[in-house]
Symmetry: C2
Amino acid sequence: MPASAQSSRRPKALKKEQVDLLVTGGTVVTMNARFRVIEDGAIAIRGDKILAIGPSVEIATRYTRARRILARGKLVLPGLINTHGHAPMVLFRGIANDLTLQDWLEKYIFPAEARNVTEEFVIWGTRLAALEMIRGGITTYADMYYFEDAVARETKAAGMRGVLGQTIIDFPVPDAKTPADGLVRAEEFLKRWKGDPLIRPAVAPHAIYTNSKETLQSAAELARRHKAPLLIHVAETKRELDDSLATHGMTPVAYLDSIGLLGPNMLAAHCVWVNDADIALLARNQVGCAHNPSSNMLLASGVAPVPAMLAGGVRLGLGTDGPAGSNNDLDLMEEMDLAAKLQKVSRMDPQALEARQTLAMATIGGARALHMESEIGSLEVGKRADLIVLNLNSPHAVPMYDLYAQIVYSLKSSDVQTVVIGGKVVMHDRRVLTLNEAEIIARAREYRVQVKHSLAAPQK
Amino acid sequence: MPASAQSSRRPKALKKEQVDLLVTGGTVVTMNARFRVIEDGAIAIRGDKILAIGPSVEIATRYTRARRILARGKLVLPGLINTHGHAPMVLFRGIANDLTLQDWLEKYIFPAEARNVTEEFVIWGTRLAALEMIRGGITTYADMYYFEDAVARETKAAGMRGVLGQTIIDFPVPDAKTPADGLVRAEEFLKRWKGDPLIRPAVAPHAIYTNSKETLQSAAELARRHKAPLLIHVAETKRELDDSLATHGMTPVAYLDSIGLLGPNMLAAHCVWVNDADIALLARNQVGCAHNPSSNMLLASGVAPVPAMLAGGVRLGLGTDGPAGSNNDLDLMEEMDLAAKLQKVSRMDPQALEARQTLAMATIGGARALHMESEIGSLEVGKRADLIVLNLNSPHAVPMYDLYAQIVYSLKSSDVQTVVIGGKVVMHDRRVLTLNEAEIIARAREYRVQVKHSLAAPQK
């Protein structure tokens, strides 16, 4: 029987609604409040949002599409959210290792930055970081650095979502001679990016030990005036805690509370040295926290009380931190593995942090930490279409008995096959479509020569 | 000028010695006693051994070859050595997670093994494990399981090097009804594989808590008689320590010493709960130890005193352990990252275990743990030609300031491009030449169905 004869006898197809992109056939791990998992599921995307989600057969009858991603035999997850980092520092990847935070920062990082960080450096660093993050399934990231306007431009060009904070610090830095200069720059930055669909501009006072009370309060006031996020390092090291106790007579969190900084726009990175009262303050003020296991381990900063923070209702996400001796990569698949294992062994309790909770931290938890849970962090109708497709064809991916355990303990960034951000396909079959990979890698190697040379030269 | 005319005026080439394989142009990280690194280095291989090693220009003038691996812009390292695992358990990958060792073993693993482990299961499990290990740069591994003869056949067929122990245990197991049966099987196994260039057969009494003193001593006697390694789990958990103190009035290591088991053929897995006296005993008796950070973290077993063991002269290597809820993969690149970070944070000392020391544990340290340091573990003339080539073309691999930090903290198993074991190219450009990857992955998925079915059925 010829094909035409067969088709002529079919009932006339129902009129289907047109969408821009359909992702079909995969196991959809929604990370919604009920942790719904849809075997052979599909997602219909229009513009930058999820229009429908359900079993493939249902979605197929309702929607036709411009483009399709076939995900049969694969996992479809919300894009991963990296809640803390300093993207351009990839160009300092592993520049100084096996050091304490203080030595690392004061003897290597601050001098290296003073001698090398220009707008051009930030452009190429952001490109390299975006490339690495996209290849590892990260769709949104939070950042604190200098020349943040360049970070924002490059992040948008890469098609990534970013909560990007212009750094404020009480000593001369590459893009500001004084904190007042920094605040002026930050305000310009906030105005320029207001309302962008991908970029949320933010103010980022570095920490309580690098900013005066006045600078911190000015930064917070600026953020409040522009309804912008406030990004800051908090209670990262024992020394920061001890110094705060000595200087202010209270913990870093209590100090930030006392000067009026805690609030539902704050994203506090690290929160390693927090006690029960601090945790209650963070939760009550809806502060978001970024847990960075790799950085906390590599710099020997300590083990954050993750189970207590989760139990206390803190908005807790995962982060990579910068890659310059405090990680040294931008791999949230590895951070998940580390986060769960670190809590288990350090509390001698194999249930201290379970696989599903850990994946939640890397997705919806990260969204909550960024106060963006109504927009991203799970695959739900009306949210932005930020999703990743994970391949299950590698030897380390089979057999699979437990979805969440496989994702957290076995799968790797190299298993991320496709990345969609705001409905746009940013990586397809491991090829990043928005960035020139070969050129970026070549430029990174050139920066190595320049940076090494700058550090060999006598100090100015 | 025609090419022929030009070549006729060249001085006649010196007669070059013929070798089987040349690896040229890479940065050769020898891991020898002086940690020699050769930029643009080369390795000449004849048969299964390294014949020469040096700068490419030198080697090129002395040797011509049947085959060449170009490693320009890449790293050449000794093959990684996985000092502890249970290869066929990959077919139980992640079957039970977030549990203590005791619950995991007694409620899930032992029942799952009783219902599923056959020789056929072991064959396919070993193939899958070998595939994963080769792809991650592991060239030698130590194993303790059942039907070890099948493990040995498949390991040899995969072209890997193995120290493979037939398990002895005081209750009925898939391949032996009694420990006496197990000892008979073990002796046959030792005889069959004696003198094999790739396989070193061993005896593997499971642990002091699963074997009587008599069984342990019989196993040790058997190993001694055949000059074979003795593989055993030692001091893995606090409970094992407490039980040993209660039952024997001494630590597991002291107990093993008291019954005459410690010696230069022992490979003790874990050694988490060892005190200074234990460490001295392990060092004095030249016992090899396998440190398994992922397993110790996931099962919340504890943190092994790695710096003290290294300082005390213990022969210490790294291992993955089995992948069935105690890891869940076979990735020594990740174990290195974990090992260093875990020691740093748990001792609050960023120098507790440095990158170079950690790579040493995964290579020459592993060789010493297996008492094979004269054969493998570093790239030196006369040693077996077991080497891996790491690609540096990924975004996470650039820029590179510190070789060892890059390997341990940034590079991943997916960066392993080529694997040579005993002079044979086992993986070329990420394609494993000795195993049928698609068939193995398909069979692993079939085993998942069978295993899940077996666990759903009522207990016999």
